[in-house]
Symmetry: C2
Subunit: 325 residues, 2 copies
Amino acid sequence: MKEAHVVAIEAAVKAVSEMKEINHIYFVACGGSLAFMMPAQYIFDRELDIPASFYPSNEFVYRAPKALGKNSLVITCSHSGNTPETVKATEVAREKGAVTIALSHLEGSPLWNAAEYPVHYDWGKEADPSDLNKGVLYSLIFRILNTLSPCSKWEKAIKSVDGLGAAIEKAKAQYADTVREWGRKYKREKLIYTMGSGASYGEAYSFAICLLMEMQWINASCIHSGEYFHGPFEITDFDVPFIIILGRGATRHLDERAYNFCRKYSNEIMLVDENTFDMSDIDPEVQPYFASLLSGAVLRSLADELAYQRGHDLGVRRYMWKMEY
Amino acid sequence: MKEAHVVAIEAAVKAVSEMKEINHIYFVACGGSLAFMMPAQYIFDRELDIPASFYPSNEFVYRAPKALGKNSLVITCSHSGNTPETVKATEVAREKGAVTIALSHLEGSPLWNAAEYPVHYDWGKEADPSDLNKGVLYSLIFRILNTLSPCSKWEKAIKSVDGLGAAIEKAKAQYADTVREWGRKYKREKLIYTMGSGASYGEAYSFAICLLMEMQWINASCIHSGEYFHGPFEITDFDVPFIIILGRGATRHLDERAYNFCRKYSNEIMLVDENTFDMSDIDPEVQPYFASLLSGAVLRSLADELAYQRGHDLGVRRYMWKMEY
């Protein structure tokens, strides 16, 4: 990881360590950036005795949670640093006295200026994965954990961020044939369901709303594995396609239960099983927290292949960035 | 409202008032019962300086938030009182020392026995709406608010629960023609999107997963109005059907923005506008909190009409209650 990233992260962590009291941690962003932070909220829930939650930026701004204040830690993210709702959310949080940390690819952006502690991440194929958004987020949250509740586990977690690149390559290689076959087979689908829970729910959510709906104009619906049996499972049928993530973490049981039912009635399941990943580059104690990042990489390969098979480039938009909205 | 309901609610509220400290309020349930409590979480967020959040029951059980403990208030709900995940969640919360309140239609059910403070609600067409699930939930949460932060507004809110029945009838009458037309026109749709935010998000969510997916086997996807522009809006097209709730509360701007865009590109929008409801039976100060309940009643009428037009009774299931899962 680049020294500049570590310096920015450590400044943010120092501010967190100096908070007299933290009674709540808010993760606030829009769309893919919100989904990207969901595993962080999950990890804090599991490991900190401080409750954490996530909000879409404008829901946070207009709902205006009354509990937001000087005992709040607010972590926001916008890739471009220009998402107006997220800039506003960060401003609101800072005005209320919260400690604000913002992740962005663009230094000097409105978000960068809105947050007290902006943290940069790299982007693009040439960057080391530890310097990309997920590597930087995980470095930040494991350092926060190591400050608020120091433990050798967090030292190992911080080191494991450096193994992310190798682990991702292995996961992609492992799924390469399956991904190719899936793209070919499902290129004419009009609707695809995704399902996950725990640390991996965010990947299921962003695949539905960003990769399928936004970038492929394919109808999609993300189901929480724990909600599947309480309504959604009634749409299951032999020809209904699902992408199911079997997590490696505490909520795997939910995913397994949903998968075991779903596969009896649907013949069209794409399974991403985090227990099959080679995670030797990541410390065993924290593998459950990194596994969803590997699922994310496999899902991204699915989107790339689908885009190729359909001749519908992932960069094509009809509304986004094309007009006022 | 029945005296027995008031007695049970007041016992629960007394326990809340006797908590030394409350650092978090968890709403935990599955499917429709989870959706049903979402407006309560919204109201607490708006009005209490104690953070609140909601979890699907098994996500809560297996994720096992570390912050859960004696300073937690946990409110669960299961209509039958038999939902195993919700019973377990209540047991886990109680073991950890949280104050547990459970809402259920079935006295003496496993959920009833799991919670320290069970609260009954009525069911069926003959019951007064103030004694049905939503009336009882609102009576509970406004009484909790009135204990934790006493104010004439909460007295008015508690009284307004008695006006719910009349307000619902007016909303249903207002939308009767639109509902009939909608059911006829959309009976052959294979996929319907729903959209909402704030207090009304839960209604959009439960219409998608319970009414459409579960009870009509129609594909559905619920979009948060604040997330629409960050991915989902790219699937908008002239023939894509949406049901959009324009809320009456703090987040109405999000809904309006999504609706104003969506209607330019889709010709198939069913709009439920909470600002058009006659809410004279509800105190003006708390109308924004009751409006989503009226939207819920209108959406229920839509489902009834769709079921009639399709000859697919809302009570039909192929998996639920039919087998082990």
